[in-house]
C-alpha cells in the first residue's frame, strides 16, 4: 500500500500542475480567438444550410421544420396564457 500511496501523491501533484497549465492555455487569447472564429464559421455554415433547406420547403408550399416548431411553440404559449388567466381568476376569487 505504501507504494500506491506514494504513486498517488505523485499523481495528485502532476494532475494539479497539468490542470493549472491547461487552464492557462485554454484562457489564452492565442487559443480562444482562433477557436471561437472556427466554431462561429462552422455554425454560420450550418445555419446557412438550414436556411436553404427552409427556402426549398417553402418554395414547395410546405412548412419547414422551423415553421412546425414555431407552431408548436405558439400552442405551448397559448396554454401558458390560459394558465396566466386561471391564476388571475384564482387570485381574485375570495
Amino acid at each position: 500500500m505504501m507504494l500506491w500511496d506514494l504513486w498517488k501523491k505523485g499523481f495528485d501533484a502532476w494532475e494539479e500542475a497539468t490542470a493549472r497549465y491547461l487552464e492557462a492555455v485554454l484562457k489564452s487569447s492565442a487559443v480562444l480567438i482562433p477557436s471561437g472564429a472556427l466554431l462561429s464559421a462552422v455554425m454560420k455554415a450550418k445555419a446557412e444550410r438550414d436556411r436553404m433547406i427552409t427556402h426549398f420547403w417553402n418554395a414547395m408550399g410546405l412548412p419547414s421544420r422551423q415553421d412546425q416548431e414555431r407552431a408548436l411553440h405558439l400552442l405551448n404559449q397559448l396554454h401558458s396564457r390560459i394558465n396566466d388567466l386561471e391564476q388571475k381568476l384564482n387570485e381574485r376569487s375570495p
Binding site: K8, K46, H79
Partner: protein
C-alpha cells in the same frame, strides 16, 4: 498489513472487478407529487415526514436549467430535499424538464418571469402569508435573484447557492463567454437549442484532467461501497444533461458578456432589474474550490442588495460535491435549514 487492511484490499479488488456488473444507484427517489405541469416543466411537492410539516412557510428549490433537478435529491442519505423534508420543511422543487426543438423560442422572460413566477406563486399559496422561501442553485440562483429583484412579493427569504452575479471574473467560463470571435447568435441560429453535448464538452474542458483524476480516486477508494454508490449516482447525474432553450440562452449570454446584472442593465418583462431592490432575508453560499462559479463572483451579491438581514456562508468544497457530500449533511444543509427555521414567522412545531 493488519487484518482490516487485508480486508479492505480484498474488498477493493472485488469491487473493481465487479464494477461493470454493479447495480446503478437509484437517483431522485424521495417521494414527491407533481402539483403543476406546464410545457416541459413540473412543480414537485415532496411528501412530508410522518410527523408532519413543522414550519408554515414552504420552500421552493430552483436548480439550474442545464442539469437535471435531482442533483438536489441525489440518493437516500445524500439528498438535500430528503434532509429538508426530515427537518419538517414543506419542500417544493422546480423540475425544468427536457426542452424540445420547439422550445428554442422560449425567452428569458418566459422562463424567469412566467414559469418561475407561477412555480413561486403556487408554492406560496400553500402558506398563510402567501410567501415561500426561495433557493436558487447555480444558474437557478441567477433566475431567483432576478425574479426576486422585480417581483419580491411572494419571497419570504432568498438562499443563493453558488450562484454568480458578477460574470466578469477570472474563471474559464467567463473567459470563453467573453471571447469576441465566438458568435453566440450564429450558434443559436445553427442549433436552435444549445446542445447539451456542447455544454458538457465545455464543462469537461474546465478541468481536462478530471476524468483521469476521478479514475484514480475510484481505484483509491474502491473498497468503500458507500463511496462507490455516491460516485456512480453523481456520474449518472453528471452525464444526464439537457439542452438549453436558444432564445433564453441568447439573452443569458448577453447578460453574461456585458455583466448586465451588476451594471443594472438587465430587464425582466420590460422592468429594470436592480439587485438593490432585494430587501428580503438573504443567505449567500459560496464554495472555496468552485471552478464553475468562482466564489467571489457569487459573494458579490452581498454588497449589491438592500437586505438588512443577510449572511454569507463560505465553505470548503466544489460546485457540486459540497452540495451532495457527507460534509454537506453536517454543515451546509443544517445551516440552510436553520436559516429558514429562524425566519419562519409561525412555527408549527
Amino acid at each position: 498489513m493488519n487484518q482490516k487492511q487485508e480486508h479492505d484490499e480484498g474488498k477493493r479488488l472485488w469491487n473493481l472487478l465487479s464494477l461493470p456488473f454493479r447495480k446503478k444507484p437509484a437517483v431522485g427517489v424521495t417521494p414527491a407529487d407533481v402539483i403543476h405541469q406546464e410545457n416541459k416543466w413540473r412543480l414537485l411537492r415532496y411528501r412530508p415526514r410522518a410527523a408532519g410539516v413543522a414550519f408554515s412557510t414552504p420552500v421552493l428549490l430552483v436548480p439550474s436549467l442545464i442539469n437535471r433537478h435531482y442533483v438536489l435529491d441525489l440518493m437516500p442519505g445524500k439528498s438535500f430535499a430528503e434532509y429538508m423534508v426530515q427537518q419538517g420543511h414543506d419542500v417544493f422543487l422546480l423540475d425544468w424538464g427536457t426542452p424540445r426543438n420547439e422550445d428554442r423560442f422560449l425567452t428569458f422572460d418566459d422562463i424567469c418571469e412566467r414559469y418561475l413566477g407561477r412555480a413561486l406563486s403556487l408554492t406560496a399559496s400553500f402558506s398563510k402569508r402567501n410567501q415561500a422561501h426561495l433557493l436558487g442553485y447555480c444558474m437557478g440562483g441567477i433566475l431567483t435573484a432576478i425574479h426576486t429583484a422585480v417581483h419580491p412579493n411572494n419571497v419570504a427569504s432568498l438562499v443563493q447557492l453558488a450562484a454568480p452575479v458578477r460574470f466578469h471574473d477570472d474563471g474559464l467560463l467567463s473567459a470563453w463567454m467573453r471571447t469576441p470571435s465566438f458568435d453566440i447568435d450564429a450558434m443559436i441560429d445553427a442549433f436552435g437549442n444549445v446542445p447539451w453535448q456542447l455544454m458538457q464538452s465545455a464543462f469537461h474542458l474546465l478541468r481536462p484532467t478530471l476524468p483521469l483524476s476521478k479514475a484514480v480516486g475510484l481505484v483509491d477508494r474502491a473498497w468503500n461501497d458507500e463511496f462507490l454508490d455516491g460516485f456512480f449516482a453523481l456520474e449518472t447525474w453528471g452525464n444526464d444533461n439537457v439542452s438549453l432553450p436558444g432564445e433564453f440562452y441568447r439573452r443569458y449570454a448577453r447578460m453574461y458578456r456585458d455583466d448586465d446584472l451588476v451594471r443594472g442593465a438587465m430587464t425582466l418583462g420590460g422592468a429594470p432589474v436592480h439587485l438593490s431592490s432585494i430587501r428580503c432575508p438573504l443567505l449567500v453560499v459560496t464554495f472555496e474550490h468552485d471552478n464553475i462559479v468562482p466564489w467571489q463572483s457569487a459573494a458579490e451579491l452581498m454588497t449589491l442588495v438592500s437586505s438588512e438581514d443577510k449572511q454569507h456562508l463560505h465553505l470548503p468544497g466544489g460546485h457540486v460535491g459540497a452540495v451532495v457530500s457527507k460534509s454537506a449533511a453536517r454543515g451546509l444543509w443544517p445551516n440552510i435549514s436553520s436559516f429558514w427555521a429562524l425566519r419562519d414567522r409561525t412555527s408549527l412545531a
